[in-house]
C-alpha cells in the first residue's frame, strides 16, 4: 500500500479514480481489449469484454443519478438510496440478496458520486444467472420497509461519522465545496448533511427510485469469463422486459463565474493543519480535459513532480501535496491539497503552491516533462486495464462521462495533441486568484491548559 498521510487519504470519498487517464496506441489497444455493445429495446446500453484469464466476472451498472440531482433538505438521498438497493425487493427480500450472492461465490458493493450511482458485482461465472435475476429484481421491485429504512439511516450516520467527523480531509473537503459552489448542486456532500440524513422520508426515497432507476438511465458493463452472446441473451431475458420511463429532469443550474477569491477556516482539535485550494474547471468531456491532466501530472505526480519537489523535498513544509479532480457532467473543481508539517503556517504552503502555479503560467513546461507526463499516463492505462474489475469501471466511466467508451482508446491521440503551450494556457485560464476558494484547517486544542507545543 502507498504510504499516504492519513488526512489526505479521505479526500477521494467513494469516487472514481479519475486522475488516471489514458495514453495508448488507439488501434492496437482497441484490438487488445475489444468491446461488444448492444442497446436494449428499453434503452439500456450494454458493453461486454471477454477475458478468460480467470474464471470470474466483473459487472457494473452505472445509473446517471447522483447528488447533483438532489435538493436542499434531502441531500445524501442518492447515497442512501444506494444502500437501500441491498435491502430487499420482490423475489429477494431483506438480507436475501447478500446471502444468495455470497453462497454462490459472489460479492458486491456500490458507490455514489455527485453524478452517478454505480453497482458492482464480482463473481465466478457459475453465478451469472443469479446475478441477472437479482439485478432485474431490484431495478423493478425495490421494497421500502420502514424498519429497514430506520436501521439503514443509522448505518449511513455511522458512515458519515467515520468519513467526515473522524477525518479532517473529509471535513475540509465538504466545507470547501459548500463555499466554492453557491448555486450548483455540487455544493453539498455526496453523503448528505447529517440533519438531512435524519429527516428524509419514505416518499423521498420512492420518488428518487422512480426518477433515477429507469433502464434507459443506466449503462451496464460486463468484463471477464463471458461471451457477448451469452450476456446479450441474459439481458434479453432479464433486463429488456423492464419498461423504460422518464429519466431525471436535467440539472439546469450553471455555477456563475467566480469573481474573486473566497476563504474559509475550520478550527477543531487536530494534530496537524490542512490546506485545500479549489479551482473551478470545466466538465469532463470538455476539450481542455487532456491538457489539465498533463498539467496535474507535471505538478504533483511522482516525487520528481514540481510541487512535490518544492513543498515536500526542498522547502520541507509539507508531508504531501496532491491535486484531485472528480469527473463531472457539469463544471467541477480541481482541488490542490497539502498536508503542512507540524508548526508550519498553512499560508507558507499556500504561497509555495501559488509560486509553482505562477511558474507554469509564465514559462512553458519542458519537453522532457511533457514526455514524462505522457509516459506516466501510458503506465496508468495498463494499470487500469490489467484487472477485469479495473476494465469494468474504466470502460463504464468513459462511456458515461465522455458519452463513448471509445474515447478510452482515442486518448493517446488526444494526449499526443497536447502541447506545452496548451498546458500553459490551461494553467493561466483556470488557476487564477479570482477563481479559487482556499480552505484551511487550524488545529485548536479543546483541552484546558492551552495550546500544544
Amino acid at each position: 500500500m502507498n504510504k499516504v498521510s492519513a488526512a489526505l487519504r479521505g479526500l477521494v470519498l467513494g469516487s472514481l479514480l479519475f486522475g488516471a487517464a489514458i495514453v495508448a496506441s488507439a488501434q492496437s489497444e482497441a484490438q487488445q481489449f475489444p468491446v461488444a455493445t448492444k442497446t436494449l429495446k428499453n434503452g439500456m446500453k450494454v458493453l461486454v469484454q471477454t477475458d478468460h484469464s480467470i474464471p470470474n466476472v466483473a459487472l457494473y451498472i452505472f445509473y446517471r443519478i447522483g447528488s447533483r440531482n438532489e435538493h436542499p433538505g434531502t441531500t445524501g438521498l442518492s447515497h442512501f438510496f444506494e444502500h437501500m438497493m441491498f435491502n430487499g425487493a420482490k423475489k429477494y427480500g431483506p438480507g436475501d440478496l447478500d446471502k444468495a450472492m455470497e453462497a454462490n461465490g459472489a460479492s458486491n458493493n456500490a458507490y455514489t458520486t455527485e453524478n452517478v450511482t454505480v453497482y458492482q458485482d464480482w463473481f465466478p461465472r457459475s453465478a451469472l444467472n443469479l446475478i441477472f435475476d437479482i439485478e432485474a429484481d431490484r431495478i423493478q421491485y425495490l421494497s421500502f420497509d420502514p424498519k429497514k429504512i430506520a436501521s439503514e439511516r443509522e448505518v449511513v450516520a455511522s458512515e458519515r461519522r467515520t468519513s467526515v467527523d473522524a477525518n479532517n480531509g473529509g471535513i475540509l473537503d465538504e466545507q470547501l465545496k459548500a463555499t466554492a459552489f453557491i448555486a450548483h448542486p455540487y455544493q453539498w456532500p455526496v453523503i448528505g448533511w447529517m440533519s438531512d440524513i435524519e429527516h428524509w422520508t419514505i416518499d423521498d426515497l420512492k420518488h428518487h427510485f422512480e426518477m433515477g432507476y429507469a433502464p434507459n438511465n443506466a449503462t451496464m458493463v460486463v468484463v471477464g469469463d463471458v461471451t457477448p452472446e451469452e450476456i446479450f441473451q441474459l439481458c434479453e431475458k432479464y433486463i429488456e422486459p423492464i419498461p423504460q420511463h422518464a429519466p431525471p429532469p436535467p440539472v439546469t443550474t450553471v455555477e456563475p463565474q467566480q469573481m474573486g477569491e473566497r476563504r474559509l477556516v475550520v478550527r477543531k482539535p487536530a494534530e496537524l493543519p490542512l490546506l485545500m485550494i479549489g479551482y473551478h474547471v470545466p466538465q469532463t468531456n470538455h476539450p481542455d480535459f487532456y491538457a489539465l491532466n498533463i498539467l496535474r501530472t507535471v505538478l504533483v505526480q511522482g516525487e520528481s513532480s514540481r510541487m512535490y519537489q518544492r513543498l515536500v523535498d526542498k522547502d520541507q513544509i509539507a508531508l504531501e501535496v496532491n491535486i484531485s479532480q472528480q469527473p463531472g457532467f457539469d463544471a467541477t473543481l480541481a482541488v490542490v491539497a497539502a498536508q503542512p508539517k507540524q508548526g508550519v503556517d498553512p499560508q507558507k504552503c499556500e504561497a509555495a503552491i501559488y509560486d509553482e502555479l505562477d511558474k507554469v503560467k509564465t514559462m512553458p513546461i519542458s519537453d522532457q516533462e511533457l514526455e514524462k507526463a505522457k509516459n506516466i499516463r501510458l503506465v496508468e492505462f495498463y494499470h487500469q486495464m490489467r484487472t477485469i474489475n479495473g476494465r469494468g469501471n474504466t470502460i463504464g466511466t468513459y462511456e458515461v462521462f465522455f458519452g463513448d467508451y471509445r474515447k478510452l482508446f482515442a486518448a493517446e491521440k488526444n494526449y499526443a495533441a497536447v502541447t506545452k503551450e496548451d498546458v500553459q494556457r490551461v494553467a493561466q485560464k483556470y488557476f487564477g486568484a479570482n477563481n479559487r476558494t482556499v480552505a484551511t484547517l487550524i488545529p485548536e486544542n479543546a483541552e484546558p491548559g492551552g495550546a500544544k507545543q
Binding site: 470470474n56 438480507g95 458493493n109 457459475s126 455511522s158 494534530e271 511522482g302 495498463y382 490489467r386 474489475n389
Partner: protein
C-alpha cells in the same frame, strides 16, 4: 458506499490451505508455472512469465522487518526501507525520482513485522532501465544525512497526522497493548519518540546487517522471457556479495490471560472505534484453511455473523469484522467495529454475544457450504495481476509454503468438515481471555466500559507513542 473499502489493515497476502491428503477434485485454479533459482551469492530468485499487459512486476523480500528493530528504535526497518530511493552511490534522491518517473515506473519499499518488501513495476520495454533503478536503490543506497533527517521529520509528522484519524492508528494501539513486550507489539513505522532517537549510523548498520543476498528473495512476474531475465538478474545482482549477521531467532508471543482494557482518549470523537481479541495464529498454522472458513462465517464477509448483528440487523455501525493477522509467529486475532458514543457498550456487548454464540452453537452446514463457495469464488481476482503473483510467490517462499497453497486450495477448502470447524473454534477463537482497545471520547464512554475488564489503562491520543510496553 455500501460497505467500507478502507480496510483497517494494510493489504496482506492471503495464504490458505492445510497439508492433507485430499482427493483431487475438479480444479480450475493453478498458479502459472514459475522457476526458482538460487544465485551463487545465495539470493533466491523466482521467475514467472505472465502474459496480458506488457509490464514487469518485481517483489523482493528482505527477511528483516520491524520485529528486528532494536528496542527503543521502533521504525528502524521501515525508515531504512524508505531511504533506499532517497539517493544512491551514483544518483541523488531527485535524480532517482526523475529517472523513475520518466519511464512511469513505480518503486516502493516498506516493512511489515516479519520482513521488508521492496516492489517495482515498469513497462516491459523499459525492463533494463527499470531493473537498473531497482538494483541501484536496493544495493547502493547512500543514506545521506540530509535525506535521513528529512525522512525522519516527515515520518514523525506522519504519525501525528494519522492520529487525527482514529481508524488509521487503532491497530498500533491494539498491537502494542496486546503483544506488550514482544517485538510484534512495536509500531511498524515507529512513533514520535522512537523515530526521534534514530540516527544515520543505526540505519546504515541495519542495512549492512540485514540486506544481504542470503537474506533476499526476489520474485518477478510479467511479460518477459524467463531465460533472458535470469541473465539480466545475474548481471544486476550476481556481484552482490554482502555478508551480514544471522537473523535473531524469533519467539512466539504469549496469549494474554484474563481481561484488560486500554482506553485512548480522543476528546472530539463522535464515535468509539473498538478492537478486541487475543493472540491468533501463525501463517503456516496447520489449521489455517479451516480457520479462514470459520472466520469467513464469523467476521470475514458482509453477511458474517458480526456484520449481520452489528450493522444489518441493528444499524449500530457502518461495518464490523474479524480477522487473523497471521505472521511467522502467531499474530493477532481481532474483532473490530465502531459506533456512536451513546451506543458504545451496546455494540461491544453485541459483539461479545456473537463471539459467545460461535463457541456455543458453532456453525451450520449451510453456513459452511456458503463460506466455501464464497472463498473459492472470490479468490481468483487476488492472483490476477503480475504484481499480485510476484508478491504471492515471494511470500510463500518466505513462509516456507509451496504452490499447493494455491493449486490445492479448492480441495482443501472443500475438505473442511463441521467437526474441524468445531475444533478450530475451540482452539483458535478466544472466549474468556480478551484484550480490549478503544479510541473515543473518554469523558462520555469511560464509565460504561469499565465493566469489560478489571485491568484498565488509559492514555490521551495526543500523548506521543502508542504503548510503552516495548521500551
Amino acid at each position: 458506499m455500501k460497505r467500507p473499502i478502507k480496510a483497517l489493515r494494510a493489504v496482506f497476502i492471503m495464504v490458505l490451505a492445510v497439508p492433507c491428503a485430499c482427493a483431487a477434485s475438479a480444479q480450475t485454479l493453478k498458479l502459472p508455472p514459475h522457476e526458482k533459482i538460487v544465485l551463487k551469492n545465495g539470493m533466491t530468485v523466482l521467475l514467472m512469465e505472465k502474459r496480458g499487459v506488457p509490464m514487469v512486476s518485481v517483489a523482493a523480500i528482505i527477511k528483516a522487518g520491524s520485529a528486528a528493530d532494536p528496542a527503543g528504535e521502533d521504525g528502524l526497518a521501515s525508515v531504512t526501507a524508505g531511504l533506499l530511493r532517497k539517493g544512491t552511490a551514483k544518483r541523488s534522491a531527485q535524480q532517482f525520482a526523475a529517472d523513475l518517473d520518466f519511464i512511469g515506473a513505480e518503486f516502493n519499499a516498506d516493512s511489515s513485522a516479519d520482513y521488508t518488501a521492496i516492489s517495482g513495476e515498469f513497462l516491459t520495454k523499459d525492463v533494463d532501465k527499470g531493473l537498473e533503478l531497482f538494483s541501484d536503490a536496493m544495493l547502493h543506497p547512500a543514506f545521506a544525512q540530509a535525506e535521513v533527517e528529512k525522512l525522519l521529520a516527515q515520518e514523525i509528522d506522519g504519525i501525528k497526522a494519522a492520529k487525527d484519524e482514529a481508524q488509521s492508528v487503532a491497530l498500533n494501539y491494539y498491537y502494542g497493548y496486546l503483544f506488550s513486550k514482544h517485538p510484534y507489539g512495536r509500531p511498524v513505522g515507529g512513533d514520535e519518540l522512537s523515530l526521534a532517537r534514530i540516527k544515520r549510523d543505526a540505519i546504515a548498520r541495519f542495512y549492512e546487517t540485514n540486506y544481504t543476498p542470503g537474506n533476499t528473495i526476489l520474485a518477478m512476474a510479467g511479460e518477459f522471457n524467463a531465460p533472458q531475465m535470469r541473465m539480466k538478474i545475474e548481471q544486476s545482482f550476481g556481484g552482490w556479495t554482502a555478508k551480514g549477521a544471522a537473523l535473531p531467532a524469533s519467539a512466539a508471543p504469549t496469549p494474554v490471560k484474563g481481561k484488560k482494557l486500554l482506553l485512548v482518549d480522543k476528546p472530539d470523537s463522535t464515535q468509539t472505534f473498538f478492537v478486541f481479541g487475543n493472540i491468533g495464529t501463525a501463517e503456516n498454522d496447520p489449521d489455517r484453511v479451516a480457520i479462514r472458513v470459520v472466520n469467513t462465517i464469523f467476521g470475514g464477509r458482509f453477511t458474517s455473523e458480526l456484520n449481520e448483528a452489528l450493522r444489518v440487523e441493528s444499524g449500530l455501525t457502518y461495518g464490523a469484522e474479524a480477522f487473523f493477522d497471521s505472521r511467522k509467529e502467531p499474530g493477532a486475532f481481532a474483532i473490530y467495529s465502531y459506533t456512536k458514543n451513546e451506543s458504545t457498550t451496546q455494540a461491544i456487548d453485541l459483539a461479545l454475544q456473537v463471539l459467545a454464540k460461535l463457541h456455543k452453537d458453532g456453525v451450520t452446514p449451510e453456513q459452511l457450504a456458503s463460506a466455501k463457495a464464497y472463498m473459492k469464488g472470490q479468490f481468483p481476482p487476488s492472483i490476477e495481476t503480475s504484481g499480485q503473483l510476484a508478491r504471492t510467490i515471494a511470500a510463500h517462499e518466505f513462509y516456507g509454503l509451496d504452490d499447493d497453497e494455491i493449486n490445492q486450495m479448492e480441495a482443501r477448502i472443500d475438505a473442511v468438515t463441521p467437526a474441524m470447524a468445531k475444533q478450530v473454534i475451540a482452539k483458535h477463537f478466544p472466549e474468556e481471555n480478551l484484550v480490549f482497545m478503544l479510541i473515543g471520547k473518554a469523558s462520555e464512554i469511560g464509565p460504561g466500559v469499565r465493566k469489560y475488564a478489571t485491568q484498565q489503562d488509559s492514555r490521551k491520543i495526543s500523548e506521543p507513542g502508542f504503548w510503552p510496553g516495548a521500551k
